[in-house]
Amino acid sequence: MKPSYELLIIGAGPAGMSAACEAARNGVEVCVIDDQPEPGGQIYRNASRATAKQNQVLGKDYQQGKNLVDDFKSYGGEYYANVSVWHLDASNQVGVIKAEENYFISAKNLVIASGAQERAMPIRGWQLPGVMYAGAGQILLKGSGIVPRGELVLAGTGPLLLLLASQYLHAGVKIKAILDTTPKGRIVKSLDKLFSGVQGYEYLIKGASLLHHIKAAKVPYYKHVEGLCAVGLDRVNNVSFASATKAGRKVVNISLDVDTLLLHQGIIPNTRLARAAQCETTWDAQQSCWTVATNEYGLCRQNTYVVGDGARVMGAVASRIQGRLCGLHVAESLSKVDSHNWQVLHHDLLKKLRKENAIRPFLNAVYQPADAYLIPQQGDVIVCRCEEVTLSDIQDAVRLGCQGPNQVKSYTRCGMGPCQGTQCSNTLSHIVAKQTDMPMAEVGELRVRSPLSPITLGQIADL
């Protein structure tokens, strides 16, 4: 690892890999770092090494990753796996830990391609062993080739939940029930967004075929699920909720025995690195998350880019296109692309990116999480899992005069544990916003501070 690069990219998912390939192709000196053991990011995790069975179960979108990962493996620049970033600032200085050693890298151009993470789903009992995110279930399938056995229930909303259900069915995994928390009337309310989304009709077809697959497999499917709770002492044994068993029937309370409960409320950009680099974030009410303010090339300010799902959720195909655009833009800014090529290529990529993004407003509107799953419904529900801070603890702090998430953090330790708020920050802001009747944009979120990932005192002392 060198002390400086023309281009340093954090994240080897579709966005980061595409940016690296495009920039290197144009002669830029590139280094990519990623904290996973293999390149691929979330969607293409393990894509170049997947077994035939994994490929068959995971489907075509996943298999499309293999080419990109293979290209990336011989892209001509440097790549370091298992590297975590613990420091980042506005001058593009990056502190990383590789094999327990500490390095500082100075990036002439910095691309943050850190991807998305799952949105927290703070229901009663979500901290119990046996409860995981649906994305975690998929990661285990892709990365380690393992699937749940026993009574399995999937609960939540969003395309990833349906995709996972379909992948599990292909794998021969038995699903006891799907509990869909999408509120009633969402599709009808979102129809006005569909017109602009017709360009993205392939996504609608994909969605319909996932639903069809689930229906054909006769998996019990509960709609408009409310009051979801995970119940158990040292692990989840049971899931309880309210739903109408058939359209038009009365809503009843239902309880199912369960060994594994997989939760999902959609994905949100992982903006921690961008915020550490002091890129501006804004509250996006449509996606119900913070997004990073960038132009279409991912540029936040001169020499600093945030691309792919790490800026705003756009999906794998758009992330690849934006990654290429960004890599090309960096090369252009270093005068490494001739102006004819730049004109032709960047117009073409911009057009593709806009076409890809056309469906987003519709998807965002349909799958916007219900308020009841953004803010816990009972006072004893854990919000901060690390420090075990509950909804009541936070409400009490606000009542006593804490002026916003950062003060609540000092008062209650909410967000002070090892995850540094990745799981509770948005919930905390939602709670404060509701109780003080202020908009999210004004409430803000927990500040990001170094170290961005845990670092030992010894590693600090080595600096």
């Binding site: 993470q117 995981m132 990365g143 080739g145 393992i146 594994t260 170290p451």
Partner: protein
Amino acid sequence: MFELLDDNHEFDTQISFDGKDHLVPSNITVAAAALLIGAKSIRETPVTGAKRMPLCMMGVCYECLMKIDGVGNQRSCQTLVRQGMVIERQIGATEVEAGYYEA
């Protein structure tokens, strides 16, 4: 409770998990191994001693912290198993030498 998708994996990597020896496939993460073995928990929280298992599997939630080869606070979901690896459940907060530094 988890099982392998393919039957043709070899259980060729020996690990010690919470004092017991197990054979698991290579190329899986420590967190996946814990699920495959049927571990009831991988850590107990520093605040109330509650039992926990991994949540996100992608390195952001830090629920899967374990003591691996003597070093505490390791994200088991980001660490691949290795022959002879010694994996222990993390009980409470870990010692300062291997602790995380809090700003």
